[in-house]
Structures are given as C-alpha cells and as structure tokens.
Symmetry: C2
Subunit: 142 residues, 2 copies
DNA sequence: GTGAGTTAGTTCCGAATTGGAACTAGTTAG
DNA sequence: CTAACTAGTTCCAATTCGGAACTAACTCAC
C-alpha cells in the first residue's frame, strides 16, 4: 500500500470514524456526547476512539481526577484533517441538499463572510479541478 | 440525517468506494482495471460501482457493441468530489509517509509547479483552518 | 448510608457485510 | 474446437456491526 490516499483511508476510511471527526471539529470531546450526537453504538464508538488515539489523531486528556475521566481532543495531526471534513461538507451542501437546504454554513472569521471552501494551488492561488492536475509519480497500488 | 457530511458519507463513506474514486480520477474506467489495481473482490467492486452509478457519481458508457461493454466515467457530480480525494492525498503525504516518500505529487498544469493543495475561503482567498471558521446553522444530527 | 445519577466503558448475541475462490456468459482469435 | 478476454454472479466461511444490557467508579440528595 504505497498510495497516500489508501494509507489515509486505512486510518480514517470508515463512516463512523469520519463522523466522529466531524463532531470533534465541532468541539465535541466526551464519550457520552459523541454517543448521543452520533447515535453510534457505544461498542463501536469506544473502538473508533481507541483507534483514533492509537493513530495520533485524537489524544486523551484527563479533565478530572476521581474518578479519572478523559476527553478526546484533536492533535495537530487530527486538526490537519480539516480540509477532508470541509470538502465532504461542501459536496453534501451542493449535491445532497433537500428541502431544508444546507444545514451548516461556515463563516470565515477573518473576512466575516459565509464561505465556500475552495481548493487552490498553493503556488498560484488558482482553483484546482480534476483536469488541472497531472500526477507526477508512480501509479498507486492499493 | 440532516448534516451534509453525514449525507455525503452515506454515499461515499466507505474505504473501497473512496479507493474506486481515487482510481477514477486517475483515469481508470474498466471493471477489470479497477479490480486489478485495487485488489478488491469482484463481488464488492460490482456492488460499489452499482451504488456509485445509482448515486449519479459514475455513469456507464458503452464503449463497444457485441458483446456490449461499458466503462465507468465520472459525472460532473463525481468530478466535484475531487477536493475530497485530493485532501485525503495531501494528508497522507504529510502524515503517513514512509521511507519511500510521497508516491504521488500533483503538478498544476496552469502554473507548472508541484502543488500543495490548499483550502481557502472563496471570498478573501485566505487559507482556512479549523479555528478560522464558525458554524452558522443548526448542530448536525447523525 | 442507601438509592439514584453521571460518565465511560465492556460483554453478549443474532444479523449483516466481507473476503476468497469458483463459476457463468457473450464474443473474438488462433 | 479451444483458449482468452471482459464483466460480472454465486456460494460459503469469517469478520464486523447493531442493539441492549451490564459493570465500575465515583457524587449528590435525602
């Protein structure tokens, strides 16, 4: 498995894992809150949180002694997944809307506008689509 | 399920589905090629391709008569998933590298540079991180 | 100091999904 | 006539998932 996409998916390529991360970006931190918000079984949630901690994407931080209680916080590695979640959000807003319309708009604090997240080339700052890029490197293996 | 992320994941939130899409962006189009490249069982591949076609993300295009053979091509809806795949790629390049280094660099045709895909606000063109956005809207339900 | 509540899990079981390998079908090439 | 190519389908055992109940370590109210 030498492809970066495949390697990434081996860690987060799972419905519940991605939903846990979505909630983490919305500042959910505790087991019970994840469970209530997601509706995932406690069994799977415990498993997914453990794997995310093992992968260094979340970290357990003790927030009270007696009884010892931990909350789950995004690490830098985890925060760096923001573009993935935002891209999923953007696509859903465009293609999966129902009568209620997009449920979650993102406000950009710096400029104050409701924003459409857009992927650009860091070099020339122009938006990038599938036709604008050429892979330079070996074809990935699964 | 009123959250766009959850709605998106209900269609593509699956390891193999995402890998199929990665290959589709690299111009893979035929059943046998997907199968060989991914190593997925034929059974699952057929299932995932069918679901992607049902979702309007891929379309079957006949490329030969007798016997009728079809190839799978990204629709506009599918091509719009590019940022998702590219974000996964970028993260893997950063956090999951091994000794061999990132296996797939993307060249930006317009400016000719190897590019780091970057997520920006479409309004002010500034890069956007988790701390730069505020959700404006209801909290999503799973 | 007993009973209910809070938080973070674990255990158990039946149901659904997956992986692996073999098999089918239509057609062309030798 | 036989093999190869392409795109699937079928079958079975093994793994994973969903749902509900249970455990553990405390706190607080009465």
């Amino acid at each position: 498995m030498q492809c970066s996409v495949a390697r990434t998916l081996s860690v987060i390529g799972d419905r519940w894992t991605l939903l846990v991360l979505r909630d983490a970006f919305l500042r959910t931190r505790r087991f019970e809150d994840f469970q209530r918000q997601l509706g995932v079984t406690r069994h799977l949630l415990a498993d997914r949180l453990r794997k995310l901690v093992d992968a260094g994407i979340l970290e357990k931080v003790r927030y009270q002694e007696k009884p010892a209680r931990y909350e789950y916080r995004l690490t830098e590695k985890g925060r760096d997944l923001h573009p993935v979640i935002v891209s999923l959000l953007r696509w859903g807003d465009r293609w999966m809307v129902d009568d209620a319309g997009p449920p979650l708009t993102l406000l950009h604090r710096q400029c104050g506008h409701a924003m459409q997240p857009t992927l650009v080339c860091d070099h020339c700052r122009e938006p990038v689509g599938p036709r604008d890029v050429a892979p330079a490197g070996a074809l990935p293996r699964a």
